[in-house]
């Protein structure tokens, strides 16, 4: 009974944000695009039942036609099929990267902001060091240490995302922890852990949500970048960045090989960014009417 009402109240707030999001055409477009990508990834075996890595040198570098909707690459693999299966890889990477960033970045940010002092100093100096490198460079350096492949791509990009979350969460915690309700919680004898999880974390969820959406776009872009350089997911696994990279050699005689994976990357990143921007506007109480 109590739970139900609680959910309804949350639902009320959710509806308000949803109404605002709905009015934002760009965000809606981003969201729809993302849903399309998600379905593509989930239904890949239905949409393209064959193997995306099956070679057929007889039909290499064919232009888009009725048989091969987006043409074929240098080894005669259907580009449409590889893009469809590639959406699985890209979304998987985005999910993995964000999980690494959230699972490590958010707790560290909470601890750093809440406790302050020496712990904060230590965490922030390490964060400073990590932020001194551009994110992609950091990911590149980590790949150089860890080696190539799907798992290492996720780990290295994920680690490069951690300092962003630490900074974001710490900043929010610094302002939330000064609120009287946090002091009130302390005054009734709540433990630090409970104060952090029950009183502070829910109040910093909005920026985390927005950063998560934006971060997924970045993750896909970084993964494609690593793939393009041959340092990410390795062939024959279909990965958009790697497809772009191998298509580069045929840019003049078969431009479609590089173009279509590029378009796929572009729209994937765009969808996350538009959705992230829309979420920020919809969830930020300052913009509330």
């Amino acid at each position: 009974m109590t739970e139900e009402k609680g959910h309804r109240e949350y639902a009320g707030r959710f509806r308000k944000s949803w109404a605002k999001l709905k009015r934002n055409k760009a965000a809606l477009f981003g969201g729809a695009l993302l849903v399309l990508y998600l379905f593509t990834a989930l239904l890949a075996p239905v949409l393209y039942p064959g193997s995306p890595s099956a070679l057929n040198l007889m039909i290499s570098l064919e232009k888009p036609s009725r048989d091969h909707f987006l043409g074929t690459d240098e080894l005669g693999r259907t580009i449409l099929g590889r893009i469809i299966w590639g959406s699985r890889v890209s979304l998987l990477i985005a999910l993995g990267v964000i999980s690494v960033g959230l699972l490590l970045g958010v707790p560290l940010g909470l601890i750093s902001g809440y406790y302050g002092g020496k712990i904060d100093f230590a965490i922030q100096r390490v964060t400073d060091m990590m932020l001194a490198f551009p994110g992609f460079l950091l990911a590149l350096a980590l790949v150089a240490v860890l080696g190539v492949g799907l798992k290492n791509t996720v780990i290295s990009i994920g680690i490069s995302m951690i300092p962003i979350y630490i900074r974001l969460v710490r900043g929010c915690v610094l302002s939330v922890k000064e609120q009287v309700y946090v002091e009130a919680a302390r005054a009734v004898g709540s433990k630090d852990f409970r104060i952090i999880v029950r009183h502070i974390l829910p109040n910093v969820m909005v920026p985390i949500t927005v950063q998560t959406s934006l971060g997924m776009g970045t993750a896909i872009l970084f993964a494609a970048g690593l793939g393009f350089l041959g340092l990410g997911v390795q062939p024959p696994n279909p990965e958009w960045g790697a497809m772009l990279g191998s298509g580069r050699a045929y840019l003049f005689n078969a431009p479609h090989v590089a173009t279509f994976p590029g378009v796929a990357i572009f729209f994937a990143v765009l969808s996350f960014n538009l959705l992230g921007d829309g979420l920020r506007d919809a969830l930020d109480p300052r913009f509330r009417i």
Binding site: T2, K5, G6, E9, Q179, V180, Y181, V182, E183, A184, A185, R186, A187, V188, G189, S190, K191, R194, R198, H199, P202, N203
Partner: protein, 327 residues
């Protein structure tokens, strides 16, 4: 009556200072006070005189550093300053709780009222979730919130200021504490709501036999609620007296000034009488004057006041004043 004679809280030589970049701020400078069972003690003074810091020091809710608390604070014979972090946490909200000034900001916007009240019960009395929730509903009923079962499920933004303050009181009372610090509990409320809240606190105090330390700068509230009053100025106690005595015969020039600056209405009011004020402002925390701290603003200032700081003169039981005139 026996109960009333036993001190519940004894504060001796409390010094709370903050180490800031600009220097050391002595927010509370040698405060002694006693709170008895079942009484309401008024703590009066202008903003920044150390009233709230005294309360926060007792519960050790100040971050140390920059704060530094020295002295002895005994609650039922237990030295609160000597307790471990875990020890003081068990006291907070359980035996000693606090009502904050701003009902608008002292409730967490993302948790329901019921959850926030149930939290301390769950914590201290180890009640399971369902029972704690039911207790929260009972508490809301006790503070006269209509339809408590519904209200418990509401988020703070749905409640008015007066309602929220009631919820805060319910939170403070939920573990049946022996002592409550009420830090300006009615300052942020409308006058009509103020009266309701004060009546409610008075009723609940009698029902639960709780002691209240009422921190306020509103002498009207003090006259209504307190049985004994402590007046603070610039981190020190300048006068202590039973409430009637204080209003009838204030001894410290500061107390006299405070009382004179309250507008008088009705028969006693004289036409054309200008409302009095205390000239000047409270000294900043870093510029405490030498000698008596009140001397730059005192209408009865003597040479001695500028040179030497007066000690406390005991005039009787619970009657003391820090002034050369009384010495």
């Amino acid at each position: 009556m026996k109960d009333q004679d036993k001190p519940l809280l004894t504060i001796e030589g409390l010094h709370t200072r903050f180490h800031t970049l600009d220097g050391i701020v002595n927010a509370v400078d040698g405060v002694d006070m006693v709170v008895y069972r079942g009484e309401t003690l008024g703590l009066v003074g202008e903003s920044g005189c150390g009233k709230s810091v005294t309360a926060l020091s007792v519960l050790r809710l100040l971050a140390c550093p920059p704060a530094e608390i020295r002295g002895t604070i005994r609650f039922q014979g237990v030295d609160l300053l000597g307790l471990s972090r875990e020890g003081i946490r068990r006291v907070r909200g359980n035996a000693v709780s606090m009502i904050f000034q701003e009902p608008m900001t002292s409730l967490n916007p993302v948790l329901t009222i019921g959850e926030q009240i149930a939290e301390s019960v769950r914590l201290h009395q180890k009640l399971p979730g369902q029972e704690a929730w039911r207790w929260a509903e009972t508490m809301l009923q006790m503070v006269q919130i209509p339809n408590p079962r519904q209200r418990a499920k509401d988020y703070p933004h749905k409640l008015s200021g007066g309602m929220r303050q009631r919820a805060m009181i319910a939170m403070a009372l939920s573990c049946n504490p022996q002592l409550i610090f009420a830090d300006e509990p009615t300052t942020a409320l409308d006058v009509t709501i103020q009266a309701q809240i004060l009546n409610l606190m008075q009723d609940l105090k009698e029902e639960f036999h709780t002691s209240i330390v009422l921190i306020t700068h509103d002498l009207g509230v003090i006259a209504e609620m307190a049985s004994r009053v402590i007046v603070m100025y610039a981190g020190q106690v300048v006068e202590e007296a039973p409430v009637r005595e204080l209003f009838k015969n204030p001894r410290h020039p500061y107390t006299q000034g405070l009382l004179a600056s309250v507008p008088v209405m009705g028969k006693k009011a004289k036409m054309g009488r200008r409302l009095q004020e205390i000239p000047g402002v409270v000294p900043g925390p870093l510029e405490t004057p030498g000698g008596c701290r009140f001397h730059p603003r005192c209408p009865k200032v003597m040479d001695r006041c500028r040179r030497e700081s007066p000690g406390e003169t005991v005039l009787g039981e619970h009657r003391r004043v820090r002034c050369w005139l009384a010495a």
